[in-house]
Structures are given as C-alpha cells and as structure tokens.
C-alpha cells in the first residue's frame, strides 16, 4: 500500500478538496444494507460510544478516546480507518488538514463557500452552514451529487433535534499563531521522571488554542461532546491535531529519541494524580473497538447509537503502540505523510 499524502486544506487544489467532500457525501448517502443509517453515520456512532467503554475486568466506564494520553493514538487509528473508508468511494482521496493559524476572520480560500465555508465567530445565534452543505445540499449540486440526497443528521445521532449542520459560537478564542503551534511541536522538556509526552499531549488536546478550542469555536455539532463527527470539519481539524503530533514525534526522534520512548511506559503514573492511566490509554493497551472481537467490552451509550456500531470482528487487534509510526501503521492500514 502506497503512502498517502494529506495536504493543506487552504492551499491544495480545489478539485482535490472537493474530492474530500465528495467522499464524505458518498459515504453519508451509502445506506448500510438492511438499515436506515449510513456508513458515515457508523463512524459518528463510534466516536459517541468511545466516550464510555468498560474494558474486560473493569468496573467503570472510561472515555477511551479523550481526556487521557491515548487521545492522539485513538484518533490516529480512527481517522485513518475513516480515510480508508473514504477511499472506498473515491479512490486516492485523503483527509486535508486545517492549518490552524489561518484566521477565519480574514478573507481566504479556506473559509470560502468552495471549501469549509464560514465559522461564525462571536455569533449569538447559530447559523446554517452554507457552501457545499448549505441546508444539506448546495444550490447548484455538482454532477457527482447523489440524486435527492441532502446532508441531514441521523435522528439517533442528534442531540437537541437539529437535523442540519449549523455553526456559531460566542467563544472567539482563535486562531493560534504559527509560533504557538511551532512551540507545541517543539516541546522537549518535562520534570525529572516524567515522560515528555504527558505535557505535549495535554497541550495539544487541551491547550489555550488547540484541539478542544477548535471544536468549541466552530460550535454546533462540532462542539457536541459525543457527535462532533457529524460535522465534516471534524476530520480536517483532527488531521491537523495528528499532524502536530507527527511533527512533534519527528522533532523528538531527530533529537535522539525513539517513537516508543516518547510515550509513557505502561507503568508510569500520571504526573497529575499519581495514578496509572486506565486500560485503553497505556502504550500496550488494546484500542476499542479494534479488539478483534474480544469479549468483555461494554459501551455506555443509548441503544439506538450502539446498534449503529459496525462490526470489527476479524479485524486485527490494534494497540496504542501500533500507531506510533504514521507512515507505517501496519494492520493493513498502510501509512501517510503530511505535505
């Protein structure tokens, strides 16, 4: 499998960017046989269900995709698998990355109708998305647009009953400067005995203007705790998160570390609270739902969401450490680079 190239959403050729949206639309219009939901919806359901997973032998539900050190690894596996699903409908397509420092407040190709449309900063009212997904479909659909299709949110994946995508947030804490992003990519120090990854991960997921902020400033479904992948911007945002991680990894390896050494060893306790991370976040842990069908996992989500989960029985077991090298992920996932 060739190494795919993920490109800058602001500067990549328009046709390639449109191909990403085309692939999302085609997956969204592809109904799972015998069901009433789409293949795209299944990916949204996975993100919802990872919020509360009980691993074999555990007594409580844990968020296996967020708020702990497995955040980046889980999302790397998740968006790569989604990317391969996109390629099943549009061969060769890859997920663009959102170069965060490009300000939505200034005119740009990225925030035009042809690409990701607008983000309504400081808006007191959420507004319907325009451009390609205006009210679910563009005013002049391209030739590839599925007949009669409109991008609407599957009822089980709605919170609050909104069937269409909207954006808008009074939170305008954006964008980060390029210097700030570069600074994160160069985090190299930690207190004695603390793996450098801890601080890097926390900054990338929860810093002043990074992953969490990006979700919140877009608003609407993008800021919904469980169903944010309903908004296709999710993938573009997370490609940037993954890119920053990959660049940080490259910087640390260039300085003499190994990919394995820049993730806390399984027994290293959290520097926040002295506790070893829960099962699912440690370096050698299996990532749900890619458990190879292992029994003993349970999910704490509404039945209507759980029933949408695709089966991963027969898919090789995937561990956190399996995704450290994004150019060679193994498990049939190939690899990718950022250009």
């Amino acid at each position: 499998m060739a190494v795919d190239l993920r490109k800058n959403a602001a500067t990549m050729p328009a046709g390639e960017f449109e191909n990403f949206f085309k692939a999302c639309v085609l997956l969204k219009s592809q109904i799972v046989p015998g069901k009433t939901f789409s293949v795209y919806d299944q990916w949204v359901a996975i993100h919802g269900c990872v919020m509360g997973v009980k691993t074999p032998g555990s007594t409580q539900f844990v968020n296996l995709g967020h708020q702990n050190i497995g955040f980046m690894a889980w999302h790397r596996e998740y968006i790569r698998r989604f990317e391969l699903a996109l390629q099943s409908v549009v061969p060769g397509v890859t997920i663009p990355y959102w170069p965060w420092p490009v300000s939505p407040l200034e005119p740009s190709t990225l925030f035009s109708n042809a690409r990701i449309h607008r983000i309504f900063f400081t808006s007191s009212v959420q507004q319907a998305v325009g451009g390609l997904l205006a009210a679910g479909r563009p005013s002049s659909p391209p030739a590839w647009w599925p007949t009669g299709f409109a991008w609407t949110i599957q009822p089980a994946l709605q919170v609050g009953g909104s069937p269409i995508l909207r954006r808008g947030s009074p939170n305008n804490n954006w964008p980060p400067t390029q210097a700030a992003v570069t600074s994160i990519e160069n985090i190299a120090t930690a207190p004695p005995g603390v793996n450098v990854y801890w601080g890097f991960w926390n900054e990338l997921e929860s810093g002043a203007r990074t992953h969490n902020t990006g979700h919140n400033i877009i608003g609407g479904y993008m800021s919904n705790p469980v169903f944010s992948p309903n908004e296709p911007l999710f993938w573009i945002h997370h490609a940037q998160v993954d890119r920053v991680w990959s660049r940080w990894q490259a910087n640390r390896v260039a300085a003499g570390s190994t990919l394995l050494s820049i993730y806390p060893p399984p027994t290293e306790a959290s520097p926040w609270n002295g506790q070893v991370p829960p099962n699912g976040h440690r370096r050698d842990d299996v990532m749900w739902p890619w458990t190879g069908g292992t029994l003993g996992y349970s999910v704490n989500a509404p039945a209507g969401v759980q029933t949408m989960l695709p089966s991963f029985v027969g898919v090789p077991v995937r561990k956190i450490r399996d995704v450290f090298d994004h150019q060679n992920l193994g498990g049939g996932l190939g690899g990718y680079q950022y250009v």
Binding site: S124, V125, A128, V159, G160, P170, N171, N212, G220, V226
Partner: protein, 192 residues
C-alpha cells in the same frame, strides 16, 4: 504555572485603548491558584470540560476579616463583577457569582459553566470600567497592605460518561444563544 497575559491589539483609530485581559488555561495539571487581583480589565478562563473535568471555582483572599475581608465586602465584590460562559455547545450563559459562607468565613464561588467536553471560555470582569485590581481593592476598602486574591478551580464531582448523561440534550443546536441562567454552582455539580 501556565499564565499568559495578552494585550488585545488596539484598533488603529481607537479613541481609548481597548480593555486588556489575562488568560488562564484550566486543564489537567494547570495552576490551582490564579491571580485575580491584576491590573487588567478582564480575566478569561479557558475551561476544558466544564462540568466534566472542572466543576466550579472559588475566589479567595489572603486578607483576613480585620484587614477588610468582611462578609459585606465579599457581597460588594460579587455585586461588582460579571461572570459569563462563552461556549459553542451551550452559547452564552450568565454565571452567578455566589457569596458562600461557612463557620470560618466567606468567599465567592462560581460554576465553570454548563457541561461541555471541549473548551469554553469563562469571562470575569468588573461592571464598571476599571481593572480587576481596582474593583477588588474598592470592595475590600482599599486595604493598606499587600494581599492576594486568587481564583481556585475545583474538579467536577462526577464523570458524565459513566451514566451516559453526556448523551442527554442540553441546548438545541441551532437555537438562539440568548442569555440564560443555568450556570449556578450547584446546578452543574454532578454526583456519581
């Protein structure tokens, strides 16, 4: 300690300088003491996981009662400030600054905002066009001594993932983000 203070860029033709602000990130391992008595007109708390990771915060002082930290002074301080959550998930929410009392004294307590998994901004600022330091000093009677006033964040008391209440509707996406008051301290605590 992660403290960043930033000046807003001034408008080119501004008659008076724009208000400036201090920003603090509330995340795992971030500072547990944040300076509130600052010569800035606004504090922005970037709260990761309001009501999920962080639940509330207290405003405390190193002043004692004889030094000016009376119950009446705390009430005056609370009345002189506004607190607002800005969130893509929940919109704009006024947060009450509650004067909390116990047998040992008084402090101010406030919620870090309605539940969200990502990051919202809580803005605290004086109602009058003065700095936080001026508002605090005035409330405490301009104490003739050096003293601290700090914001102390508190963790949320539960994990919303555990009982799947994270899936429950909060604010209808797309509904007007009118100011609505459901940001009380107790209203956002979630027992597990």
């Amino acid at each position: 300690m992660v403290i960043k203070r930033t000046n807003k860029p001034e408008a080119k033709k501004a008659i008076a300088p724009k208000a400036d602000f201090a920003e603090y990130v509330l995340t795992k391992g971030s500072s547990r003491l944040m300076d509130a008595r600052i010569a800035r007109k606004e504090i922005r708390l970037y709260v990761n996981g309001p009501a999920m990771l962080f639940g509330s915060a207290r405003i405390l002082t190193s002043l004692d009662m004889p030094g000016g930290a009376t119950h009446q002074a705390w009430k005056k301080l609370a009345a002189s400030l506004t607190c607002t959550s800005l969130c893509g998930h929940n919109g704009k929410t006024k947060i009450p600054l509650e004067v909390a009392t116990s047998r040992i004294g008084t402090h101010i307590e406030f919620s870090t905002g309605p539940m969200a998994m990502y990051q919202s901004t809580v803005v605290i600022k004086p109602k009058k066009d003065v700095t936080l330091k001026q508002a605090i000093d005035e409330a405490f009677g301009n104490p003739g001594q050096s003293y601290l006033v700090v914001i102390v964040p508190e963790p949320a008391s539960g994990h919303l993932e555990h009982d799947a209440s994270i899936f429950e509707p909060n604010v209808e996406p797309g509904s007007p983000h009118d100011d609505h008051n459901h940001g009380g301290v107790l209203g956002n605590r979630h027992g597990s």
